[in-house]
Symmetry: C2
Subunit: 424 residues, 2 copies
C-alpha cells in the first residue's frame, strides 16, 4: 500500500473539480483505493509520502500525437493541411527509414512528452517497421502507457513513404505479434487517413483489428479540401466516417478519430450511436492549419466519447495543459459566434485531458477507486499562487506553468521520472 | 564602436524578414550603424563579439501591460471584462497601496518581462503614487525602456481605488516632474478607461499631456458591454474614441489605445486620419475575456499605427513572442470567417511586436541604420532547428521557445541581463 499526501485535484465528472486540501490518497498495486480528507485508521501503519502543499493531479492523456513530427512543431504553419503534408511532413517522415535518425528523434520526443506530464498517449509513428519498433521499446523502457501505430499508406504518398499493400499489412501484423503482450505499450491499427489507403488496405486493416481485438486510430474530417477529396475517392460511401465504418475501422473495436471539424449530420448520428468511437479534439492544430473549429459542446451534449490531442507537429504544444487552454479559448470564440452554446470551463477541458481521454485506456485519468494511479505532482510556489483556491492554482498552472513545475510523475503507482534510488 | 556577429533577422517592413546568416552588425553609441554580410574594412580594427550561429533579433516591444496584474495572469478567466475587473482585478490592485507588496510584485514582474526578451514596454501601474514611483525606479535600475503610467480613476471604482479628482491630477503631475527627465523610463498619461474617469479628470489629464508634451495610454472598445456603458456615460460624444479625442487624449500628443475590437466606421475614420494614434492588438486577452477579434488586417490596410500587447493579466502570456503566435492564430480564425482578408504572416506579427510597436518609442525595433540597438540573442540548438532557414528557426522559437533560449539582451547597445564583469 502507498499513501500520498498533498493538495488533491481531479475531475470525476466534467461538471467540476473534486479537491482535497491536504488530502490523502491510498494506492494498492498501482490502483487508487480511495481519497480521504482524514486518513482512515486502517492505513495508519503505512508510511506516508507527503508532498506538502503541492498539487497532486492525474497525469495527462494525449489521444493524438505524431512522434515523428516533433521536429517540425511550430514551423511552416502558413500552409493548410494538404500542402503542409507535401512540403514539410512527408520529407521529414521519410527520414525515419534511418533507425539512427529515428532513435534520436523519438528519444527527444518521449522525454519531452514525459517532462510535460503526459503519461498516456496514442501515437502515430511512420510507415517504417524498424523505427516503429524502436519507439515501442523506448516507451516500454520509460514506463509510460501508450498505443503506438505503425502508419499504413499505400497510395497518394511520396515514393519514399508509399507501401505495397501486402507488405504494409504483413509488417503491421509482425509488430502486433511482437508487442501485443506488453502491459502498458500496445499496438494500434493506424491507417494514416482515408486518402492514403486503398480499399484493399482498409479491408486488411479492419481484419487485423478484429483478429487481434485491436483499437484503431486515424484522422477524420479535419479540413474541407480533405473531405472533398475523400468523397471523390470513395463515391460509394455516404460520408468520410462511413469509409472507416464500412471497413471495420470505426467499430466494432474501439476507434479514435482525430479532428472531426467538418462532420455532416449523418456522421454525427453514426458517431452518436457508436460507443466504440472516440473523437479527439486538437484545437491547436486546427487553428494552426486553419482547418476550423470542432463543435465540441454539441458533441459533448450528444454523449460522444471525447478527449484531447496535441497533434504534434500541426499542433506546436506538446504540453497537454496548454492544449487545454487552447480548447477553452477556441470554445470562447465559438461562443461569440454561436452564443447559445456555452464555452468550455476549466473543469471540462481538464476532464477531457485526463478522464475523458483516459477512458480509451480503461480506468485512467481520475483518482476514483479502481483507477490507475497515474499522477503528476506540481510545485506551484514559483507561479505565485498564495491565497488562491486549488482550482485557481490549477488554472494558474495550465495557463502559465511549465515542465519545471512538475516535480514527480507516476504511472500505475510507479515513478517514471527518476532512476531507482534517486527518489521515491 | 561595437561589432556583433551572428545569424541576424529583423523586419524592416511587415512584408518580410531581412536575414543575414553569419552577418555583422555595427553599433555606435547604442545605435545601429549598419548590418553587413561581409564586415567593411573600416571596422576591421574593432573587436567582434561573435555569437556564432545564434539568432540575433530585435528585442520585443509590449505596448500594453498591467504590471500590477501579473499575479492574476491565468486565473479567473471564466468571466468577461467588467465582472472580471470587479471580482479579481480591483481587489488585487488595492493591495498596491502597500509599498512592500508593490516592491515584491513589481520586481517579479520586471524580471519576468526581461527574461522573455521584452525590452520596451508601455505599462499601467495602479492609482497609487508611491508604488508607481517604485516601479519607475525599478525599471530605471534594470536598464530597459518603458513608459509608466500612474492610473487615474475618480468614479465607478471601488472605494479603495477611487481618487479625488484634484488629488489624482496633482499626484500625476508630481510623478511627471520627478521622472520626466529620465532617458529610458518616462511617464505617460493613463486614464484607466472612459467609464472610470469624470469629464473633469479627462480634461485635466488632457491639459497635463499638452503642458508636458506627454503621450497617453488607455483602453478603447474592448468589450460590447463596455462600449454600451461609455455611450450611456458620454451621450454627447458620437463614439467611444471621440471621448478621448474630445479631451485631448487621442491626439494631439501620441496616444496608445488598447484593444479596439468593436470600432464603428466613424471611429475607424477618426483613427485613420490621426497619425498620433497607435492601436494595440492584445489577442490573448481578447480571447480570454471573450471580448472579440480586432480587425487587424483591415486596420493595417488603413495605415493605422499598430503594435502588440500582452495585456497581462487578461492575457496570460508575458512572452510577447507567444502573443505573436496568438495574433497569427486569431487572424486565421478571422480568415475562416471572412475569407477575402488573408491571415497575418510570421513576418507581419514579428514586425508588429518589434518595429511596429517600437515606433511609439522612436527608432526602435529594427536593425536599420539609426535604430537603437535593442536586441536579444537566441540559442536555438535545444529547439532542434538544424537544417531550417533563419525564418523557420525564428518560427520555431516564437512557437516553442522560452526564456531559457534567450542568452543575451541589449538595450541601446548595453547588456541588461547580467552584472558588470559577468559577461559582455
Amino acid at each position: 500500500m502507498q499513501i500520498f499526501k498533498g493538495d488533491l485535484i481531479f475531475t470525476p465528472t466534467p461538471q467540476g473539480f473534486k479537491t482535497l486540501k491536504g488530502g490523502y490518497i491510498a494506492v494498492s498495486k498501482g490502483q487508487v483505493e480511495g481519497v480521504y480528507q482524514k486518513l482512515p485508521a486502517l492505513f495508519s501503519n503505512f508510511k506516508i509520502k507527503n508532498f506538502g502543499r503541492r498539487l497532486i493531479m492525474p497525469g495527462f492523456v494525449d489521444l493524438h500525437v505524431h512522434a515523428s513530427q516533433f521536429y517540425q512543431a511550430g514551423v511552416g504553419l502558413d500552409q493548410e493541411l494538404l500542402p503542409w503534408l507535401e512540403h514539410y511532413i512527408y520529407p521529414l517522415e521519410e527520414r525515419f527509414a534511418d533507425p539512427e535518425f529515428a532513435r534520436e528523434a523519438y528519444a527527444r520526443f518521449v522525454e519531452e512528452l514525459i517532462s510535460h506530464g503526459t503519461l498516456r498517449a496514442c501515437i502515430f509513428a511512420t510507415v517504417h517497421r524498424e523505427s516503429t519498433a524502436l519507439l515501442f521499446d523506448l516507451l516500454a523502457s520509460r514506463g509510460i502507457g501508450a498505443y503506438v501505430g505503425k502508419v499504413n499508406m499505400d497510395c497518394h504518398a511520396p515514393p519514399g513513404l508509399q507501401e505495397v499493400t501486402a507488405v504494409s499489412l504483413q509488417e503491421t501484423e509482425e509488430l502486433i505479434k511482437r508487442y501485443g503482450g506488453h502491459p502498458l505499450v500496445k499496438p494500434i491499427i493506424t491507417p494514416r487517413f482515408a486518402p492514403s489507403t486503398t480499399p484493399e488496405l482498409l479491408a486488411g486493416l479492419g481484419s487485423l483489428a478484429r483478429k487481434y481485438h485491436l483499437p484503431v486510430q486515424s484522422h477524420l474530417a479535419e479540413n474541407k479540401a480533405e473531405v472533398a477529396w475523400v468523397q471523390e475517392l470513395f463515391p460509394d460511401q455516404p460520408t468520410y466516417a462511413h469509409v472507416y465504418h464500412h471497413y471495420g475501422l470505426l467499430g466494432p473495436t474501439p476507434a479514435l478519430m482525430a479532428h472531426a471539424v467538418h462532420l455532416t449530420e449523418q456522421e454525427k448520428t453514426l458517431l452518436t450511436k457508436n460507443s466504440a468511437a472516440w473523437l479527439v479534439h486538437c484545437p491547436e492544430a486546427n487553428i494552426n492549419l486553419k482547418s476550423g473549429m470542432m463543435p465540441v459542446r454539441e458533441l459533448l451534449e450528444r454523449g460522444i466519447n471525447l478527449g484531447l490531442g496535441s497533434d504534434i507537429g500541426a499542433g506546436h504544444s506538446i504540453a497537454l495543459y496548454r492544449v487545454m487552454v487552447r480548447a477553452i479559448q477556441l470554445s470562447k470564440i465559438r461562443n461569440i459566434l454561436e452564443p447559445p452554446r456555452a464555452p468550455l470551463t476549466t473543469a471540462e477541458v481538464f476532464y477531457l485531458g485526463t478522464k475523458g481521454g483516459g477512458s480509451f485506456f480503461g480506468k485512467v485519468g481520475s483518482f476514483e477507486p479502481g483507477y490507475a494511479f497515474d499522477a503528476i505532482v506540481v510545485e506551484d510556489e514559483a507561479l505565485i499562487t498564495a491565497g488562491f483556491t486549488l482550482e485557481e492554482r490549477l488554472q494558474k498552472f495550465i495557463y502559465t506553468g511549465g515542465a519545471d513545475n512538475i516535480v514527480a510523475r507516476f504511472v500505475k503507482g510507479k515513478r517514471v521520472d527518476c532512476g531507482p534510488g534517486d527518489c521515491y
